[in-house]
Amino acid sequence: MRYDTLIIGAGMSGLAAGIRLAQFGRRVAILERHYLWGGLNSFYKRAGRRFDTGLHALTNYVPPRTSGAPLTRILRQLRIPYDALALAPQGFSESAFRVGGDLPRLRFGNDFELMRSEVARLFPSETARFDGLVRALPGYDDVAASDGSTSARATLEQLIVDPLLREMLLLPLCYYGSPREHDLTWTEFGVLFRSIFLEGLARPEGGVKHLLDLLVARYRGLGGELRMRCGVRRILITDGRAHGVVLDDGTQLECEQILSCAGWPETLGLCADAAPRGLAASVGRLSFVESISVLDREPASLGIDSTITFFNDGEHFEYARPAGPADLRSGVICCPNNYASATPLREGLLRVTVLANHERWAALDEQAYRAEKQAVFGSVVDAAERFVPSVRAHTVYSDTFTPRTVEHFTGHRGGAVYGSPDKRGDASTGVLGLYLCGTDQGLVGIVGALLSGITVANKYALVAQ
């Protein structure tokens, strides 16, 4: 049988694209190498507990029936009711910097007035300039037209005078979505600022699995085919046009077109000798280590009130691949218990994420890898304790994942969570009938990935056919 569309990867973008196509009767199959779906936002089980990977927060939170917002537009396109997501909004989050003996904390929440008042409290002379920054932000619709060459840091320097405020704004936005070291593009800054500061953060009740269950049920209910443990070894290309794939087991599948969510350098790798030449597709240099502590009580009872704490030691924040296995100067502390869930989580949970060097982890043999994981877990917890109260005495279980874990389960080279710095905004690959969606099309995060899957499916598989 010949498919209309084959989708490589059952991450958020692949599932969203699949739903769009199955919804209109297309013969579509999603091919996923792993035995679980979700890609960079998935889950795993250890010792009877389920842990999320990726998702600290769903960005772009807006109340139901908000018109024209990315979240509500996506749900409408996928025909998933807003209430089905069961979103628990954050309490508040913060960007916290240790500068000399001071520890300024810039709080923000799902009401933007909190952030404005915090800027006025910490940086009274910047109040008007901060409002000017918000007015100058690029919009969501500017993504497609962006050439990606304007630096967010350079633009911020023209708009905000106090360097500490600039750093406090960049820290959360880099950690939640920048694929490039030291900076983001001005367009990426605008998208992330809107999705995190102007809109907000929430968590689906039950975590990422709940969202994935909704997507998979919707896709299968529409007759979409989802093949697990079904890796693509190669994309078949004849005369510059993609027409099928070869699977890991040697099976060939034919199709009219392919949407690849595998990432840009990874997709070129699948094209092998037929890959178009002269297109930049560097592997992203940014990956993360995450230490998860399971607690015997609510983190709030230990004095941890924030939902997400982005932290940095010093007045300058360096967003780059560290020389060592992990960079302990900055990071993200996520406390899923501090979302306003209708059903409280079964146990206390604290997740601490820091920048990591993929090569350092990849080079270790199995024994050294396990030892390094253990050692880094301890240092990451130490790092977090400089910004939130200690949870050590109440930790009943812990686990750590590394850039190696990310690469192994997602297939993203270098464990690059935000993909390649070389984005393909128009989804084209230089091969006819082969289009990118997901992280390397340019939109990151769960909502970004879903929107990418929808827009690429609409443009190349629905309108064009």
Binding site: F24, G68, R73, R76, R79, I454, N458
Partner: protein, 92 residues
């Protein structure tokens, strides 16, 4: 389909795409997107549903013919006159 049935067919499609919108007071001569929240992605869905339900093809250059409910009736009339009205089953 009669003209009234074409209106019902279009409104039923919009109700499927945008279940939160109140469609009880749509003025046929006014633009749909001025009366309810519909963006270009939603118009694509109207076109895709017309194709799925009735086999009607609307080229991208003619999407603007569907801007008002009356426009839908005028444009779709010749394409739908020999088709039966199909409404979506109640959605869960």
């Amino acid at each position: 389909m009669t003209n009234e049935e074409i209106k019902l067919a279009v409104l039923d499609i919009i109700a499927t795409i945008a279940p939160d919108e109140d469609l009880s007071h749509i003025e046929p001569e006014l633009k749909l997107r001025e009366q309810i929240e519909l963006d270009s992605m939603d118009f694509l869905d109207i076109v895709m549903e017309l194709r799925k339900r009735y086999g009607v093809q609307v080229p991208e250059t003619e999407y603007m013919q569907l801007a008002t409910l009356q426009g839908c009736v005028d444009y779709l009339g010749p394409k739908l006159h020999d088709k039966q009205l199909k409404t979506s089953p109640a959605r869960a």
